[in-house]
Each structure stands twice: as C-alpha cells, then as structure tokens.
Symmetry: C2
Subunit: 424 residues, 2 copies
C-alpha cells in the first residue's frame, strides 16, 4: 500500500467516524505510525444527516476532509480504500488498494442500515447512513412533489406526497419533525397548486413508544410534539413488505412512494473474523480493553464493538459517545504499553441523549436533569454546533440555522443529482 | 401539462438562466400567465462553477431553487421538464412531462459544451457547464491524488497529478488559477508524500492570447499572473485527440488523466426549428426585438440568440449581460403590446468584462477604465457576490471567501460522489 516501514509500531485504524478520529487525536505524537483507512475521504457528522436530507444544511457543511484534520501530524497517513479482509494470523489487511501489515489494528467501521433480510424493502426504500444517501432522499422528496403536480389522479398524487418513516429512534423522530416543518412552512409556497392537507407523514415504530431508549417523560413529550406538527405515529406496528407504492404492515397498509428506513442498523466487519468473535447484528465481541480476545493486536471500538459490562450487560448503545470514549481510552492504553504501564478497563460515562423535533421543540435526558421544549432545543443546537469538525463548518451551519429560523425556510431544496430520473 | 387555461396570454420560458430569470422579473404582475420550464429545479450561477470544481465553494451556495425566486407571484408556474420539440405552427411545445400551448414562447436555453465533433475527447474529458459536472471535476481531481499516492510508477503518478485545461477564455483562466492555488497552498499539506514540483498545470489555447475577447493589457497581465503561479501556457496550440492519458496537440503531446474542456460552446435548441433559423454553433437568428422572424410569438434571448447589430455584426458575446439585458427588454416590449405601444429595438450596453486568476490577482476591462491586480480582484468579488441569487447564498459565499483567504484553504475537498469509482 506504499507506506514506508518504520521503526515505531504501526497502528492501522479502519473507519474515520467518531471513534477512529478520537483515537488518533488521543495518540501521542510520533510514538506510532498511524494509518487511517476509510472508503470516503471525509468524516461524516451523522447526527445532522437528516438536515441534509430535508434541505436544511448543505452536505459539505457536515462533512470534513480526513486528511485536513491531521495535516500537522508527521506520523499520520491516510489511504482512501475499502478493506476487503483481514488476516489476523499474519497481522495483515487486504484492501481495494493493496495489502498492509499492522502491529495494532483498530476496527471502527460503525454500522450500516439493517433491513432484516427483507430484500424488496432494501431495494425500494431509502436508507440514511451516508451523505449520498441523504442527498438521494432530498432529491426524491423534491422529484415526487414535481411529479405530483403533473398528475390528475388523486390517489397517485397522494402516494407521491406521502412520506413514511420506519423506526422512531432519534433519526426517525428528527427526520419526521423536519419533514413536517417542510410541509407546514416551506412546500405550500413552492407548490401553491398542491393541497398539503392531503400529505401525510407517518412514523412507524415496532415498540410501544417513540425514542425507545429515552426516559418516559421525553418519549411522551416527543410524541406530543410530533403530533402537534401533524406527524401520524403508529406504535407497535411492524412493516412487513413494500412494493414501491404500498407498505404492508401488521396494521393497516399505507400508500407512499417515499419510504425511509431508519429502523435498524447492523455491522459489516471485514472478512477474516471467526464466528465466535461476532454477536447479534454482527458486532464484534471485545473485552473491557476493546481487545478481540485471542487475536493479538486486534481491537474494535464504537458501534462495532460489543462489550458486556455490569451497567450494560447487552453492550453499549450504538451512538457517538461510547465510540469517542472507547477511542480515547484505547489510545491511552496503547501509550501505556510503551511506558510499561498497565491498561485500564473501559467504563462508560453516560452524557445523556437528546432529540430535536423542530423549531423550539426538543427533548433532552441529561445526567443531572431532564428537560423538554425550547431550552432542550437550545442545548441540542449548542452541543451539535460545537461537536462539528472544522471552524468553517460551524460558521456555515450557524448561518443556515439562523437564516432558516427567522425565515421559516430551507433554501437548498435542490435536485442536484436526480434520484428517480438518474439518467439526467 | 396540467396548467389551467387562463384569459390572459401565456408566456412560456424555456430555461431559468440569467436571461429567463430577468425576463420574468421584468414582466408586470398579473398581466401574463408565466410558465418557466427547466430541466433543473434551480438556477445555476455559472460564473462561480469553477470554484465548486476546485473545492472553494459548496455547490448549494451557487444554486438557487427556481420556485423560491418567484414564490410570491400568483401568475408564475414552474415545471421541471425537458423540452423535446416545439411546434411553431400550432404554438405548442412537447416536453418529457406532457404538452403545453403558448401565446409567446421564449427560448433561453443557453449553451452546452462544444467538442467540435471529436467523440473521443467528448467521452474522456470533463466539461464544466453544470453543477454535477463541476462536482465531477472536484471528485476526479481528488481521486487522482489519492491514486497517485498508491503507485510507484513515476510516469503514472505524474499523469495522475497533471491537469490540462483546454481553452483560455474566462472559464479556463479562472480554473487554471484556482487549481494552481490548490497546488501551491492546499494539496502539499494534504499529500506530504507527493512531490508537487512534478505536478504540471497546462492551459492550452488555440488563438494567440489568453482571454481573447479582452484588452491587450488585461490579456498580457492575465498571462503574467498565471505564469507567476506556475501555470504553463500554450498559445496557438490545437488539441487533436485524447485517449484518456495522452493528449495529442499541434505542438508536443501532454500526459494527463485530467483533461478539462473549456474550449467552446454550442447551442442545443429544441427540435422544430428550420435550418434557416439556425446559424453557426446552432444559435437562433433573431431580429432586434429578439423575435424569430416568420414564427409568430417565438423569441430567443441570451447565449442562444444570434442578433446582428452595427456594433456586433457577428452577434453578441455569449455571457451573462446580453442575456440579462435582452430578457429585460423583451419583458418590457411584451408589456408594450398590452398597452398598444411600439416595441423598442435592442441595443447592448457593455458593462465590461473581468476574470480572476487568484488571490489579489484579477483583470477588469470596465467601460470607464481598465485595471489589473488587487483592485480588480476586489471589484470582481463585489460584483459576483452581489449578483448571486439569494441572501443566504451571499452570506455563505462571503464566509467561505473570507475563510479561504485568511487560511489559504479549501475546506470542502470532498469526494461525495466518486467519479472514477462510480460504483461506490
């Protein structure tokens, strides 16, 4: 892979998400040769993808070039490549751009959408885990409204306007809220000929509450917020199939040409691990040091890592914070080896969780208190703005949010790459 | 096409560029039913496309949704469609989304890239007339640098790093300048393993000077500016062929995997016009009122219109100003008909021309004076910022320019949709 050998140990990190980046930031300068491999040349700030999908933010403001982040580190190498398999016996990885040996290998590839084996849903619904996927949703929504104008068939028009989101976790809830705001404030001005009372936004959830991992109070309030802006919520409802127009569920069928799937994730580790290493959802079993036991120098962190602790007997939640904290600890532990010190085990510090439903409406379960409404919304905005990588991105996002707030607007409702008419 | 009939005359405008937009803006409220048809749902601010291609600006900041611009006009209808042909006898157009009758039809479709019939160049080079094309250039440039890192073959590496731009008009000059700045300030930090002294930027021009339509002084100064930042200029050189790696020219061959074609434009009017209506480059011959003679209610404006006047015996330059001025006059003339007044003929007011080569380096031929250097650069920035459609876009572009200026940076060097590895 064209990286010169070095006398210092080589750490290869696969995946430039929250975990991988924090690990590199926490590694001491010049003690390791650090190689980051990712199939994109940028870090994606996934918590704001839903705003890209709903024309609230430019894609370029939530993505940040990976090379740029570490450009002042002489010990850092980036390679744009897809990892095909790993050979833990020979401590080597095989990628689309050649092979590479490692001393330490950190798997931090996160998750992909889980369609639970339903191939028709996988083929006809929209996932939202990457920037191109979010842009596809933006294009599809707008293309469907343009098409709705051109038909006289009322049923066809409604199926073009309706949106169904499956999964009422934070992604589904935030997306439903943002689409409701588009319908309530933006789209009627764009399409005066369409009757937006006929557009339904359905949020379908298999369990008995929205935001399942959050507190009872936040969950109830989120549901109330969503209903107040016109999102129809279907709890205890399972989606069974989708033919591109009709969704079959355990309840009544729904008519839509836009099905967004936010109902589950799974991991997709590279080939080369044994079945014993993998648990439910293809997560990799690790010990309290994020080590894959029995494989020297192999680690997994973040969404991909499955670590049982007393407080989390079924593993940690697959969100940013465990990834960041595990990345930080693993970097320190690797450095402890150089100093001849003992490693410290991982203990998760829960910083809380949040979700926003729309302007001045959010819910936040924080370690010291819970809050819902405008204050939670300000906390949400502040935390997300500060977590973005890059000063330019923070300014651009801040400008957009301020502009959108005062104008009830989304200026970037652009079909740059059509999704339905992909030949254009 | 699902637009209700109306008692007032219907004007159909094909193309939401500078000319089409200005025409609509200048039409009186409520006197006409206005239908704008475009194959994109946004206006593209083409003068800044080169900054999208070179990671200086987000695509979303130079595009603006067409529906948004006229959302307060009750007499305005937009349809996203491709026009296939026009039937001037029956005053009807045929589009990808159905047919529509017109009273007045204004063709304002601008230009597309002209490869002068060379199909291998058309297939293997990059045009830059649309936002997706500019994004393709951005992706390709970055993908080639990533690939350059992975090869040990010096010739292959150079051909991946080299960039050849054909055509030294404003687009070619501005693009060459922006790529030279990337090489001089940004890329070496991203790719410390690559030797950027080995990266050549060639600007190839068939005539004897850069910026052919500009004054001798500006042309000379632009050449000097380009050479001072390391652009190699080849005047009086014709490109003959390209196999994806080697460009054959009337001079020496050049090795590159990135050929950007900015050497010519042509028009692509819809089917249904007779050969007599078309002149060189498929422009449509119009009289001084932008009417296509012999075709009642048919007009062409902007780049597409070929109008001979005393000062411009070979037609007006294919740039924004003639389009804007013709759009404005035609709107007024159409309104004069309603008032029973006589039409006024078109007379072009030359507001001058400008091109920027890079930070603090631009050339400007203005009606009252000519200037080159930092002052021209400030004028250039001010004029382009003020010409952008939409307040949000202006703020975002201003933030980016300020940030890039002080940081010598381009933060959005993202491969969102890979061009070479399109399957990813």
């Amino acid at each position: 892979m064209n990286i010169s050998d070095s006398s210092i140990p080589r750490i290869v990190i696969i995946g430039g998400g929250f975990g991988g980046l924090q690990l590199i930031k926490s590694l001491p300068q010049g003690k390791f040769q650090i190689v980051l491999i990712d199939k994109h040349n940028y870090h994606t700030f996934q918590p704001l993808l839903y705003q890209v999908a709903t024309a609230g933010l430019e894609p370029d403001s939530i993505a940040y070039p990976l090379r740029k982040i570490f450009k002042n580190r002489g010990d850092f190498f980036f390679r744009l490549a897809e990892v095909i398999s790993i050979d833990t016996d020979h401590k080597e990885i095989h990628t689309s751009s050649g092979d590479l040996e490692y001393d330490h290998l950190v798997l931090a590839t996160g998750t992909v959408t889980n369609f639970f084996g339903n191939e028709t849903i996988a083929a006809k619904s929209m996932g939202m885990k990457t920037v191109p996927e979010a842009l596809n949703i933006r294009s599809l929504l707008l293309e469907n409204f343009e098409a709705a104008l051109l038909t006289d068939d009322l049923k066809e028009r409604e199926s073009l306007m309706n949106v169904v989101i499956v999964g009422a976790g934070p992604t589904g809830v935030e997306l439903a809220g943002a689409i409701a705001e588009l319908r309530n404030h933006v789209l009627p001005k764009d399409y005066p000929d369409l009757d937006f009372r006929r557009m339904s936004i359905h949020l379908v959830e298999g369990t008995g509450k929205v935001l399942p991992p959050m507190s009872e109070g936040s969950s109830k309030k989120a549901q109330e917020f969503l209903e107040s802006i016109g999102v129809q919520i279907w709890l205890n409802t399972k989606v069974e199939d989708y033919d591109g127009r009709i969704i079959t569920t355990s309840g009544k069928p729904m008519s839509t040409q836009t099905l967004i799937w936010a109902a589950g994730v799974q991991c997709k580790p590279p080939e080369g691990l044994s079945g014993d290493d993998l648990v439910r959802g293809n997560r990799i079993r690790v010990n309290r040091f994020n080590q894959v036991e029995g494989k020297a120098g192999l680690y997994a962190i973040g969404d991909l890592a499955y670590m049982e602790t007393e407080n989390f007997p079924k593993g940690h939640p697959q969100v940013a914070q465990p990834a960041i904290q595990q990345g930080r600890l693993l970097a320190k532990n690797l450095n402890r080896t150089l100093k001849g010190q003992e490693w410290k085990p991982f203990e998760y510090t829960d910083l809380g969780s949040m979700a926003t439903i729309g302007r001045t409406r959010a819910v936040a379960d924080l370690p010291k208190f819970k809050t819902q409404g405008a204050f939670a919304w300000f906390i949400w905005m502040f935390v997300h703005l500060m977590s973005l990588v890059g000063f330019r991105n923070r300014v651009v996002v801040f400008v957009n949010w301020t502009y959108n707030f005062f104008n009830y607007n989304r200026d970037i409702r652009l079909i740059i790459r059509p999704f339905k008419n992909r030949s254009q």
